[in-house]
Protein backbone atom coordinates (compact mmCIF):
# COMPACT_ATOMS: atom_id res chain seq x y z
CA UNK A 1 0.00 0.00 0.00
CA UNK A 2 2.92 2.31 0.56
CA UNK A 3 3.30 3.84 -2.82
CA UNK A 4 5.09 7.08 -3.39
CA UNK A 5 1.80 8.80 -4.00
CA UNK A 6 0.44 7.75 -0.65
CA UNK A 7 3.59 8.95 1.10
CA UNK A 8 3.59 12.29 -0.59
CA UNK A 9 -0.10 12.80 -0.11
CA UNK A 10 0.19 11.90 3.55
CA UNK A 11 2.89 14.52 4.10
CA UNK A 12 0.43 17.22 3.07
CA UNK A 13 -2.77 15.62 4.29
CA UNK A 14 -1.62 14.73 7.80
CA UNK A 15 -1.15 18.25 9.21
CA UNK A 16 -4.34 19.35 7.48
CA UNK A 17 -6.31 16.52 9.03
CA UNK A 18 -4.89 17.24 12.49
CA UNK A 19 -5.77 20.91 12.16
CA UNK A 20 -9.22 19.97 10.91
CA UNK A 21 -9.72 17.65 13.91
CA UNK A 22 -8.88 20.45 16.34
CA UNK A 23 -11.21 22.74 14.42
CA UNK A 24 -14.01 20.17 14.73
CA UNK A 25 -13.36 19.82 18.44
CA UNK A 26 -13.40 23.57 18.97
CA UNK A 27 -16.51 24.38 17.04
CA UNK A 28 -18.43 21.28 18.09
CA UNK A 29 -20.37 23.11 20.74
CA UNK A 30 -22.07 25.32 18.18
CA UNK A 31 -21.75 23.64 14.79
CA UNK A 32 -21.48 19.99 13.76
CA UNK A 33 -18.33 18.49 15.24
CA UNK A 34 -17.15 17.69 18.73
CA UNK A 35 -14.82 15.39 20.59
CA UNK A 36 -15.94 12.15 19.01
CA UNK A 37 -15.62 13.28 15.38
CA UNK A 38 -12.53 15.31 16.13
CA UNK A 39 -10.84 12.37 17.80
CA UNK A 40 -11.75 10.08 14.94
CA UNK A 41 -10.32 12.48 12.36
CA UNK A 42 -7.10 12.88 14.35
CA UNK A 43 -6.82 9.13 14.66
CA UNK A 44 -7.35 8.81 10.92
CA UNK A 45 -4.46 11.20 10.34
CA UNK A 46 -2.13 9.04 12.39
CA UNK A 47 -3.42 5.85 10.78
CA UNK A 48 -2.68 7.38 7.41
CA UNK A 49 0.87 8.15 8.53
CA UNK A 50 1.25 4.62 9.89
CA UNK A 51 0.15 3.18 6.54
CA UNK A 52 2.58 5.40 4.65
CA UNK A 53 5.65 5.32 6.90
CA UNK A 54 4.95 2.48 9.35
CA UNK A 55 3.65 2.49 12.88
CA UNK A 56 7.01 3.35 14.41
CA UNK A 57 7.02 6.67 12.57
CA UNK A 58 3.46 7.35 13.67
CA UNK A 59 4.28 6.40 17.26
CA UNK A 60 7.31 8.73 17.17
CA UNK A 61 5.20 11.62 16.03
CA UNK A 62 2.54 10.91 18.63
CA UNK A 63 5.24 10.79 21.31
CA UNK A 64 2.95 9.24 23.89
CA UNK A 65 1.88 5.58 23.69
CA UNK A 66 -1.73 5.59 22.46
CA UNK A 67 -2.87 3.31 25.28
CA UNK A 68 -1.65 5.99 27.71
CA UNK A 69 -3.95 8.51 26.05
CA UNK A 70 -6.95 6.50 27.24
CA UNK A 71 -6.50 7.15 30.97
CA UNK A 72 -5.33 10.69 30.25
CA UNK A 73 -8.52 11.38 28.32
CA UNK A 74 -10.74 9.71 30.89
CA UNK A 75 -9.06 11.66 33.68
CA UNK A 76 -9.54 14.91 31.76
CA UNK A 77 -13.26 14.30 31.43
CA UNK A 78 -13.49 13.25 35.05
CA UNK A 79 -11.70 16.38 36.21
CA UNK A 80 -14.05 18.48 34.08
CA UNK A 81 -16.94 16.94 35.98
CA UNK A 82 -15.34 17.12 39.39
CA UNK A 83 -15.10 20.90 39.28
CA UNK A 84 -18.83 21.26 39.84
CA UNK A 85 -18.74 18.54 42.46
CA UNK A 86 -16.15 20.40 44.49
CA UNK A 87 -18.30 23.52 44.32
CA UNK A 88 -21.21 21.57 45.77
CA UNK A 89 -23.15 21.25 42.50
CA UNK A 90 -24.07 17.87 41.02
CA UNK A 91 -21.21 15.98 39.38
CA UNK A 92 -20.63 17.04 35.74
CA UNK A 93 -22.65 20.26 35.92
CA UNK A 94 -21.25 22.62 33.30
CA UNK A 95 -19.31 25.61 34.61
CA UNK A 96 -18.38 28.73 32.64
CA UNK A 97 -16.06 31.47 33.81
CA UNK A 98 -18.38 33.96 32.13
CA UNK A 99 -21.65 33.24 30.42
CA UNK A 100 -21.34 32.83 26.68
CA UNK A 101 -17.65 32.04 26.55
CA UNK A 102 -16.81 28.69 24.99
CA UNK A 103 -14.03 27.85 27.46
CA UNK A 104 -16.26 26.11 30.01
CA UNK A 105 -15.87 22.71 31.62
CA UNK A 106 -17.97 21.09 28.86
CA UNK A 107 -15.18 21.94 26.41
CA UNK A 108 -12.66 20.37 28.77
CA UNK A 109 -14.92 17.34 28.93
CA UNK A 110 -14.97 17.20 25.14
CA UNK A 111 -11.16 17.39 25.11
CA UNK A 112 -11.17 14.32 27.31
CA UNK A 113 -13.51 12.56 24.86
CA UNK A 114 -11.21 13.58 21.99
CA UNK A 115 -8.10 12.20 23.70
CA UNK A 116 -9.84 8.96 24.70
CA UNK A 117 -11.13 8.35 21.19
CA UNK A 118 -7.68 8.99 19.67
CA UNK A 119 -6.12 6.67 22.22
CA UNK A 120 -8.63 3.87 21.72
CA UNK A 121 -8.61 3.89 17.94
CA UNK A 122 -4.83 4.08 17.68
CA UNK A 123 -4.31 1.44 20.37
CA UNK A 124 -6.45 -0.97 18.41
CA UNK A 125 -5.17 -0.22 14.91
CA UNK A 126 -1.47 0.11 15.76
CA UNK A 127 -1.58 -3.17 17.67
CA UNK A 128 -3.20 -4.92 14.71
CA UNK A 129 -0.77 -3.38 12.24
CA UNK A 130 2.17 -4.57 14.30
CA UNK A 131 0.54 -7.97 14.65
CA UNK A 132 0.77 -8.34 10.88
CA UNK A 133 4.45 -7.52 10.55
Amino acid sequence: MTTLIVRTATRYLMPLLLLFSLFLLWRGHHEPGGGFVGGLVAATAFVLLAIADGTSAARRLLRIAPVRLVPVGLATSLVAGLGAFVLGRPFLTGLWPEAGIALGTPLLFDVGVYLTVVGVVLTILFALMEEGS
Partner: protein
Protein backbone atom coordinates in the same frame (compact mmCIF):
# COMPACT_ATOMS: atom_id res chain seq x y z
CA UNK B 1 -39.97 8.41 2.97
CA UNK B 2 -40.27 6.35 6.12
CA UNK B 3 -40.78 3.40 3.83
CA UNK B 4 -37.29 3.79 2.32
CA UNK B 5 -35.65 3.76 5.74
CA UNK B 6 -37.82 0.86 6.87
CA UNK B 7 -36.87 -1.05 3.75
CA UNK B 8 -33.18 -0.38 4.36
CA UNK B 9 -33.48 -1.47 7.99
CA UNK B 10 -35.33 -4.63 7.07
CA UNK B 11 -32.88 -5.70 4.37
CA UNK B 12 -29.84 -4.96 6.51
CA UNK B 13 -31.26 -6.95 9.42
CA UNK B 14 -32.35 -9.88 7.30
CA UNK B 15 -28.97 -10.11 5.57
CA UNK B 16 -27.01 -9.69 8.77
CA UNK B 17 -29.05 -12.29 10.66
CA UNK B 18 -28.60 -14.76 7.86
CA UNK B 19 -24.85 -14.09 7.87
CA UNK B 20 -24.72 -14.54 11.65
CA UNK B 21 -26.49 -17.89 11.41
CA UNK B 22 -24.34 -19.14 8.57
CA UNK B 23 -21.87 -20.59 11.02
CA UNK B 24 -18.54 -19.44 9.66
CA UNK B 25 -16.28 -16.94 11.37
CA UNK B 26 -15.98 -14.54 8.46
CA UNK B 27 -19.72 -14.36 7.94
CA UNK B 28 -20.27 -13.96 11.64
CA UNK B 29 -18.00 -10.90 11.74
CA UNK B 30 -19.50 -9.47 8.59
CA UNK B 31 -22.99 -9.99 10.00
CA UNK B 32 -21.99 -8.25 13.21
CA UNK B 33 -20.76 -5.21 11.30
CA UNK B 34 -23.98 -5.08 9.29
CA UNK B 35 -26.09 -5.57 12.40
CA UNK B 36 -24.73 -2.39 13.96
CA UNK B 37 -25.57 -0.44 10.80
CA UNK B 38 -29.12 -1.70 10.97
CA UNK B 39 -29.42 -0.93 14.66
CA UNK B 40 -28.14 2.62 14.20
CA UNK B 41 -30.59 3.28 11.42
CA UNK B 42 -33.46 1.84 13.46
CA UNK B 43 -32.57 3.92 16.51
CA UNK B 44 -32.20 6.98 14.34
CA UNK B 45 -35.56 6.41 12.67
CA UNK B 46 -37.20 6.05 16.09
CA UNK B 47 -36.53 9.75 16.64
CA UNK B 48 -38.76 10.62 13.74
CA UNK B 49 -37.42 11.47 10.30
CA UNK B 50 -37.15 15.21 9.71
CA UNK B 51 -35.56 16.54 6.58
CA UNK B 52 -33.79 19.88 6.49
CA UNK B 53 -34.03 20.72 10.18
CA UNK B 54 -30.80 19.88 12.00
CA UNK B 55 -30.94 20.38 15.78
CA UNK B 56 -28.71 23.44 15.65
CA UNK B 57 -29.62 26.90 16.84
CA UNK B 58 -28.65 29.66 14.46
CA UNK B 59 -26.21 32.33 15.55
CA UNK B 60 -28.13 34.55 17.98
CA UNK B 61 -31.16 32.26 18.19
CA UNK B 62 -32.22 30.81 21.51
CA UNK B 63 -33.22 27.40 20.16
CA UNK B 64 -33.28 25.36 16.97
CA UNK B 65 -36.05 26.33 14.56
CA UNK B 66 -39.45 24.85 15.35
CA UNK B 67 -39.85 21.38 13.87
CA UNK B 68 -36.13 20.60 13.96
CA UNK B 69 -35.04 16.99 14.33
CA UNK B 70 -34.97 15.32 17.73
CA UNK B 71 -31.39 15.67 19.05
CA UNK B 72 -31.52 12.88 21.63
CA UNK B 73 -31.54 9.85 19.31
CA UNK B 74 -28.76 11.53 17.38
CA UNK B 75 -26.63 11.79 20.50
CA UNK B 76 -27.35 8.15 21.34
CA UNK B 77 -26.50 6.95 17.85
CA UNK B 78 -23.33 9.04 17.73
CA UNK B 79 -21.76 7.27 20.68
CA UNK B 80 -23.20 3.96 19.50
CA UNK B 81 -21.34 4.31 16.19
CA UNK B 82 -18.01 4.75 17.93
CA UNK B 83 -18.68 1.96 20.40
CA UNK B 84 -19.76 -0.37 17.60
CA UNK B 85 -16.37 0.20 16.00
CA UNK B 86 -14.57 -0.78 19.20
CA UNK B 87 -16.81 -3.80 19.69
CA UNK B 88 -16.27 -4.93 16.12
CA UNK B 89 -12.52 -4.64 16.65
CA UNK B 90 -12.82 -6.68 19.84
CA UNK B 91 -14.87 -9.36 18.09
CA UNK B 92 -12.37 -9.47 15.22
CA UNK B 93 -9.45 -10.03 17.58
CA UNK B 94 -11.44 -12.61 19.52
CA UNK B 95 -12.27 -14.41 16.30
CA UNK B 96 -8.66 -14.15 15.23
CA UNK B 97 -7.55 -16.14 18.26
CA UNK B 98 -10.38 -18.64 18.11
CA UNK B 99 -9.80 -19.28 14.43
CA UNK B 100 -6.10 -19.67 14.95
CA UNK B 101 -6.59 -22.18 17.76
CA UNK B 102 -9.24 -24.24 16.02
CA UNK B 103 -7.59 -23.89 12.59
CA UNK B 104 -11.01 -23.66 10.97
CA UNK B 105 -13.59 -21.00 10.28
CA UNK B 106 -16.42 -23.25 11.46
CA UNK B 107 -17.65 -21.52 14.61
CA UNK B 108 -19.24 -24.69 15.93
CA UNK B 109 -15.72 -25.99 16.48
CA UNK B 110 -14.82 -23.15 18.85
CA UNK B 111 -14.66 -23.20 22.57
CA UNK B 112 -17.43 -25.61 23.46
CA UNK B 113 -16.36 -28.55 25.60
CA UNK B 114 -18.63 -30.82 23.61
CA UNK B 115 -18.08 -29.24 20.21
Amino acid sequence: MSLAVALAVGVVFAVSLRLLLQGTLWHLLLGLALLSHGTHLLLFAAGGLVAGGPPLALEGALAPAAGAADPLPQALVLTAIVIAFAVLAFALVLGLGAGRDAKTDDIDAYGGDRG
